[in-house]
Symmetry: C2
Subunit: 136 residues, 2 copies
């Protein structure tokens, strides 16, 4: 199989497949006489795994460790779970950060008339030397 077929089957773009190979997330694959990458069926499984992991936001470096565990049939599920837990914690932190931004901005926006008049608590709030965040 050529890269395009594998890309379509796995959901990972050809561009990214080459990139993953370049950073050794996946091993270098065989080449045809003309230099084309030639894939086997199991390669699709690996790329599918990577794609799924990316879709839940795992960074590539953590996927590297996930892949190692996936291939290690003697792994302890605890190791997988702790990677997952670390990532969930990362997600929670990111979500929390965004929610804090959202709250601050919403707080300002709620007080803005949103009409033709120029006075605007949003601009005032951003210009205010007092830090945003705590609404108290």
């Amino acid at each position: 199989m050529n890269i395009g077929e594998v890309a379509a089957a796995s959901g990972v773009s050809a561009k990214m497949i080459r990139y993953y190979e370049s950073i050794a997330l996946i091993p270098p694959v065989g080449r045809s006489a003309g230099g084309y990458r030639v894939y086997q069926a199991p390669d699709i499984d690996t790329l599918r795994f990577i794609h799924s992991a990316r879709r839940v936001g795992f960074p590539v470096e953590r996927i590297r460790r996930l892949l190692a565990l996936w291939r290690d049939k003697g792994r302890a599920s605890a190791d997988v779970k702790s990677l997952a837990a670390a990532h969930i914690a990362d997600l929670d932190r990111q979500i929390g950060d965004l929610q804090a931004m959202r709250r601050s901005l919403e707080h300002l926006a709620a007080r803005c008339h949103g009409d033709d008049r120029p006075d605007c608590p949003i601009l005032d709030g951003l210009a205010d030397p007092v830090p945003l965040g705590r609404v108290g």
Copy 2:
């Protein structure tokens, strides 16, 4: 005032102040005989504004428009509010994306023993060709 002082007063690093100048988010400032940037008090206000806007996640290009409105004393607050609303919508989308990731992963992790045994629904779920997401 030199850049370091302005950086400390505004919360924006000297590096970023130069960057904002390079992309014309802020106008080029005067220079001393030796080539140092020389700032005036109002420049701190501008940088403080930018810093606040960054802290609530506004991308620089939107801050450009916010700054224009801020300086335009005849602006309509509706214009500011719509920029804010657009940004809140962006934040909501990002939050939603992250929460969806979190849910999918949590769903898998909840079923993982997390002990010495190798079987692991997290790895299985990522390897599964069936898309993640809907828990149905």
